[in-house]
């Protein structure tokens, strides 16, 4: 039973108990011997007392400190002693008055000590006085050493206001018989290791010690890592998937001419999506350029009369409107630029911001990311488009199954909507189509171009486990801390 008790002792309790081998010790001494802080010694002592292994003895001690007057006397001597010395040299009372400012005190104490007699105004040193001259008095010693043994001296010093006295309590730990029984066992037991120290490793001492088992369920504060923003994590997640599927990433500017944002995509210049309620117009700078005059010319002709694309065209074209600047409203503009830059074979994508006037709420934003791409190559057809869509649905959105619907985009024909069965329900995942000849031919492209755009914000929200699209741009540190990694 006792060994069970020994085993359950906290290491600090053991240390304290072992320091009591001689039977008892003062807490200060224990602290010095064990190297523990005094608070820990007292805490361990309390536990040991509750277990009946030790008892306490409380004692009071006094410590004195000198007052300014006391310090003065300690340095220059007691006035009664000075009186004695001067008197011995035969100084008259008048002279004493000059030399000793505290003459009254000096006379009073010299008389009380029985060092002098005053007869007819003259000081006569007694036998005791002579003795006092030959050595230091107890009072003097006490002042010089700052410690007092004699209660009577202490009383004198106190009454003369030469010292102040403070009381300290000290605690003596005393082994009980129960405690005494444990000592040999504790001394024999291997020492336990709490925190493994470099010293333990260096000296090999850890081999003789035992590792104290820790409670793994003790609550500890959670560390806070610095992370990438969860939306950025999702962008990288999607980026990696698309790269693995052979897509190359392309970029385009936020400020865009209407030419690239809409005209090159064969959206009629009076299309509702180009109105001031659906697109941000840039006030300053106020106009851009289209430096590729050949492409500009072809796009203009296509709008006017279909050019050589076989289309009827829109019958109208305003060359000033095309140079107006807007904030890009669709990343499809980047696809148009990619084609104009010479893409004739391959797969391209972009993940980037777009802008549309809207009221910011849980489902609308002025700024939103889109993920769009194109597949350019001879022989590409609608079934290939569906093949890519199916793969996106399964790979990126994690859909269990997918389905296709005809859709509409001004720049594609045919157009396809992709639905996926995600988290137990059907949702729209992507819009897509094959670029119209009115889009590709003016850009100098004679091969089919499959174009697609993923409902990026919505997918991100599913992956991030959020329902408010404003959280896509959340920058609250507490929220970010709690947000899981996008895996």
């Amino acid at each position: 039973m006792s060994s069970d008790l020994a085993r359950k002792l906290h290491p600090q309790e053991r240390l304290v108990l072992l320091s009591l081998k001689s039977g008892e010790a003062i807490d200060d001494v224990i602290a010095r011997e064990t190297g523990l802080p005094k608070a820990s010694v007292n805490k361990a002592g309390l536990w040991l007392k509750l277990k009946g292994l030790i008892e306490y003895r409380d004692e009071k001690t006094f410590s004195i400190s000198l007052t300014p007057e006391g310090r003065n006397y300690a340095k220059n001597g007691l006035p009664e002693k000075i009186l004695l010395k001067l008197s011995e040299k035969g100084a008259a009372l008048r002279q004493l008055k000059e030399k000793i400012p505290e003459l009254t005190i000096a006379l009073a104490w010299a008389k009380r000590n029985g060092w002098i007699d005053i007869q007819k105004g003259a000081i006569k040193i007694t036998k005791e006085g002579k003795l006092a001259l030959s050595k230091k008095t107890e009072t003097e010693k006490s002042l010089e050493t700052g410690s007092v043994q004699d209660e009577r001296i202490l009383a004198e010093l106190k009454s003369r206001r030469l010292v102040t006295v403070s009381e300290t309590r000290r605690k003596t730990f005393i082994l009980t018989p129960e405690g005494k029984k444990l000592i040999p066992e504790l001394a024999a037991a291997k020492q336990e290791i709490g925190q493994l120290t470099p010293q333990d490793l260096k000296t090999g001492r850890w081999k003789e010690k035992e590792f104290r088992p820790y409670d793994i369920n003790t609550p500890v504060p959670t560390a806070v890592p610095a992370k990438m923003h969860p939306y950025v994590q999702f962008m990288n997640y999607t980026r990696q998937k698309l790269i693995a599927l052979g897509f190359r990433e392309v970029k385009g500017p936020f400020v865009e001419t209407e030419f690239w944002n809409s005209d090159s995509l064969f959206m009629p210049q009076d299309h509702p999506a180009r109105g001031i309620h659906d697109i941000f117009r840039v006030k300053s700078p106020n106009a851009g350029e289209v430096r590729d005059k050949l492409v500009l010319q072809r796009v203009a002709e296509t709008h006017k009369n279909g050019w050589t694309t076989g289309s009827a065209g829109w019958g109208t074209w305003n060359p000033e409107q095309t140079l107006k600047l807007v904030l890009r409203s669709q990343t499809t503009a980047v696809s148009a630029r990619t084609l104009a830059a010479g893409a004739r074979h391959g797969k391209f994508f972009t993940i980037d911001r777009n802008f549309r006037p809207d009221v910011i709420d849980a489902t609308h934003s002025l700024e939103f990311y889109q993920c769009e791409g194109i597949v350019v190559g001879e022989g590409m057809n609608l079934r290939h488009l569906l093949g890519y869509l199916k793969m996106f649905g399964e790979e990126i959105a994690g859909a269990e199954k997918v389905r296709f619907r005809p859709g509409y985009f001004p720049f594609t024909e045919p157009s396809v909507e992709l639905d996926g069965f995600v988290n137990g329900k059907w949702m729209e995942l992507a819009g897509s189509g094959i670029f119209r000849p009115e889009v590709t031919r003016p850009l100098g492209v004679d091969v089919p171009v499959l174009a697609w755009g993923i409902g990026f914000g919505r997918l991100a929200m599913i992956k991030m486990g959020i329902t408010d699209s404003r959280d896509l741009f959340n920058h609250d540190l507490e929220w970010l801390k709690n947000q899981k990694l996008v895996i």
Binding site: P253, F254, F280, R291, G306, K347, R405, L472, H475
Partner: protein, 546 residues
Amino acid sequence: MPIITVDPDDLKSLIGRKVSDDELRRILPLNKLNIEEWDEEMKIEVTPDRPDLFSTEGMARQIASWLGITIGLTKFDIAKPKIEVVPSKVSLRPFITCGAVRGVRMDDRMIKSIMQLQEMLDLTLGRDRKKVAIGIHDVSRVVPPFYYKEILPNEVSFVPLNSSKRMNLRQIIAEHPKGVQYAHLVKGAKKWPIIVDSKNQVLSFPPIINGELTKVREDTTDMFIDITGSSDSLVNYSLNILLAALEKRGAKIEAVSLGGKLKPDLSPKLMEVDADEARKLLGLEIGNKDIADLLERMGYGAAMKKSRADVLVPAYRADILHPVDIIEDIAIAYGFSDIRPEMARLPSTGEASRMEEFSNRIRELMTGLGFQEVLNYTLTSSERQFSWMNVKAEPVAEIGNPMSQDYSACRRWLLPSLMEDLRTNKHRKFPQRIFEVSDSVVPDRSETAASNVRKLCGVITHSQASLSEIISILNAIKENLGAKWEMKPCRHGSFIPGRCGAILLDGKEAGVFGEINPKVLLNFELNNPVSAFELDVQAVSGHLRI
């Protein structure tokens, strides 16, 4: 996208054979008709390219055809004209077209559907009556010939629809709800359009409002339709769509003599489609005969001449600009649910954009340095970017039609956004270290007069945040990137004088750092010192030849 309200029973009965709810649920989305709601009524979202589907009648025609119940081109019988319309020059709305129907048996569902169609056409094809405005009249109340002309706004007065007060055109614009709503379409013009009968009774004040006189009622059987606008083709498409819908209800179409020409023209348009082209684009193994059948299932007339299809496009199809539009319909007739996806063989190597790749390396470095990433909007205000930051305004891309002043310009630098973030997080735990890697927008001489410039901004705030702390971060970035930049003391209003530096990369300024000026801290209501840096990532990437 347009949402059309449909009575499901009405739709089913117009289709012409029994269709179950489940079947309808499956079929509609395969025909560009997406069911948004289905209670007592259906709300159906129609793609905007198909205004001919903006009515129950149009949908029923499409579904009946797709199911093979009534295939091929609809033949419209048009009776000889009894009504004459005399057009004259109307500068505001130069184009007019007209049509008439007789023997209509009105019921509630039909009125609702036709009114909805009229509204949707006005709104979409008509760009909210700007390009097209439709008037439908009970023709029994007026006496032809009718006259389309322009008059002075106070020349004629009449009782407008849903009113009992006689008003002249100017009063209507000022007082009548529709007048107020559409006033912008006539204001500024000297003369305004009007349609009157032979007795000078007003049928319509296009594009604002009809007269109460010719209001269509439940007992109306004979109707006259006027469509005015700025586009000849669009007014005629609108007329054709409307007449086709009425025809589906059993109305007899009657021609109108418009300045000597007969209207409507419901004859189909011929377009040639190359069957090989169709097979190539769709990837479907379908023969020429299949193609002809599929076209007929979409309401076209089709005659194959070897691999060339002579396609007769119905007069109500406003969306057929190019043979690819017809090719898509072949796929729709085939059924999008039946097209098998195929994996393309198009070998290519994937690659991230170098700037994104580089940005990700920087993100890894910054998180490694204990900085949490934040993401902010590009849109902000000039005030926040400059006056709040205690610096002179610089050129920015500014929006002409902002939704609010807070989002009225593109950010030229990121630091103001991160200062805002610190304000949001002022009651969170300290120390705080955040960063952002994003594009700023800087006006320049490029084609778009402004370019994206990728930047990195990092800020530190706690009670001891200091210059040396931020320099130590910058040194870590410099050394880990292998960049060679110099730091030079500089003056910058956002920072404390004497505690601010510029980063010089190949002799050019590519960044700034320091302890944030207390004036700026107060502007952002911050209580703790902040040290910060902003670095031009684009310049660094150029320097490193990435």
